[in-house]
Amino acid sequence: MFRDNIRLAFHNIRHRQVRSWLTILGIVVGVAAVVALISIGEGMQNSIEEQFESIGYNTIILSPGGSTEQASGPEGRMGVLKAMFGGGKPAVVDLSVLDRLPQVVSFGAQRIETGMIASENLDGQAFLRITGLTYGMTDYFNAYFNGFPIAQGRNFDQSDRSVIVLGAQVATDLGVAVGDQVQIETTDFEVIGILESTATEGKGTGGAMTFRGMDTGLFVPIESLETLYGGEGKISQALVEVTDQTDVVEASQAIKNLFSQFETPVQTITAEEMSEQMKSVMASIQMTLTAIAAISLLVGAIGVMNTMFTSVLERTREIGIMKAIGAKDRHVLSLFMIESGLLGIIGGAIGVLAGVAISSLAGGVLSGALAVGPGSGGISVSFAASYSPWLIIGALLASFVLGAIAGVLPARRGAKLRPVEALRYE
């Protein structure tokens, strides 16, 4: 009997094709949006995790200023954001005291300024972000700088001052090659190296949506920024590597305590805290978007309900006939509920396919990555989606259940009709 009703339900859905497809479309849109957003979100989370796995968790990020609070709460969040985008307002911090801590293996700092840039082949001038680096920074914390791969020329020497290494994109924009001059404010800098383009790295097209910082980076020795802008010993951010055996959280606290005796206190964040915070920021963005998508799914379900009410009304006479020839209330009830459940699950199946297609397409278009983290380029959040079987099974199940629930009221109305009245209905 149940199988027969499924067959009948299919028959009825097929018979009202246009309306059925339109109703199904409502579900498709909702499911596709939910599936796409969740799978992209999951992909992002995985990518953050993988990146930190490969970088290692024994790094502490230090920024001048701030309180001694842990990296939680609103202030902690701000600290993370500061850390993610290269540090705060430059301030004088004497990093040499770090040598007092036995856990510390190496450290380096960067200073970020915005400067007026000019070159021979550039019309007018440009305001760009300039990153000053202490010597060895890109070697010690290679992964944070995406490997800092030099395509042409060379990396900095210890004695280098007025020299500059350019990201691939910015080198093209300024129209310079190795050996050319770039003017920052009034000083000439010699281009000694150009980085490999990260866009050629496989993922995506490297088109307009590339967020990667390395391609647009201008890197100079930190001392040359002191000459340009003054403020000896000023840094925006420092990276500290501790030994593998160290408890990173304790070390982080020890660093904070150490600097609290000095003029400028520092804020610290461990790589793990940063990874957690990034994931939780991503997760809450994703949650919000998914909730919006879920609303559209709800609207789809209301569409199913509407269609089923119409269907019951239209088929009132048919219900009367079914009852006259022996159908019980529950036969009628289950027929209509199966019909609406089918609308739901068909919509769900198409929606899952569409969602997978959309998210893999989006992953491609958004190409690489949203670059964050110290060195603005190392930690890149990939948009490549990840599909768990649970997501797919869950989406199918949810759309069937949603469809069936949307059918409850209409089906009950149909089932409760009195046969004689139903038969008289025109």
Binding site: E318, I321, A327, P419, V420, L423
Partner: protein, 224 residues
């Protein structure tokens, strides 16, 4: 045997009350072929519905076989209609989207008859009513007479004790009407099926062993 005892059926239409049946006493014996005649609005269809458990009286009792069905549950009545009664309505009583074969199968489906068995029986029944070559036609692809024959085949699907036909020939020409009547007479004679039919047509009533006249919700003189 179906026995009606002081049956009253009133319809509430907003503020007005329509008394469709005003105290009907009636007995129909097993194996009878009975015609019900009366003017339009006299309560023939209402009576028919009560006889077959499609509706229930406001007062009085309806005894079907040896059971009072006037106070039974909806499921009980559905079962009664499915197993022991066959209805043929005046018009448009087929499910429009289903083929003739599917329509005839439907009552057997509700009784849980296996698919293969009911398919064969439906086919057999349609052949019996002369529609062996119209099995996969939909109602809209059939003439009025053919539709009525499909409806009759469907009414016979679960081999009912009682066949109730509400103006089965009302919309048909005399030739198709005669075919239907021959079929009903044959069922009554060969199988001993109780056949109750509503009609306006005296020739049709002529096939019956007994004619019941109904006027304004009351049984009039029975003319044999």
């Amino acid at each position: 045997m179906i026995k009606l005892d002081h049956v009253v059926r009133t319809y509430q239409m907003g503020k007005t009350t329509v008394q469709a049946l005003r105290g009907v006493d009636l007995e129909i014996h097993d194996g009878e072929l009975v015609a019900i005649m009366g003017p339009s609005g006299s309560g023939k269809s209402t009576l028919m519905h009560l006889l077959g458990g499609l509706d229930q009286p406001d007062e009085g009792s309806v005894v079907f076989g040896d059971q009072d069905i006037s106070k039974q549950s909806r499921d009980f009545l559905a079962e009664l209609r499915g197993k022991r009664v066959g209805f043929v309505f005046q018009t448009f009583s087929l499910i429009p989207t289903l083929t003739a074969l599917d329509n005839v199968e439907l009552p057997m489906m509700y009784q849980g008859v296996e698919r293969k068995v009911r398919r064969e029986r439906a086919q057999h029944l349609l052949e019996q009513v002369g529609l062996g070559d119209r099995l996969n036609h939909r109602p809209t692809e059939l003439s009025g007479g053919e539709q009525q024959r499909v409806a009759t085949a469907r009414a016979l699907a679960n081999d009912p004790e009682v066949l109730l036909a509400d103006e089965p020939t009302g919309n048909l020409d005399s030739k198709s009407g005669k075919q239907i009547m021959q079929l009903l007479t044959q069922l009554n004679e060969e199988k001993g099926m109780t056949v109750i039919l509503v009609t306006h047509d005296a020739t049709i009533a002529g096939y019956a062993q007994r004619t019941i006249h109904i006027f304004d919700g009351r049984i009039g003189d029975a003319a044999d």
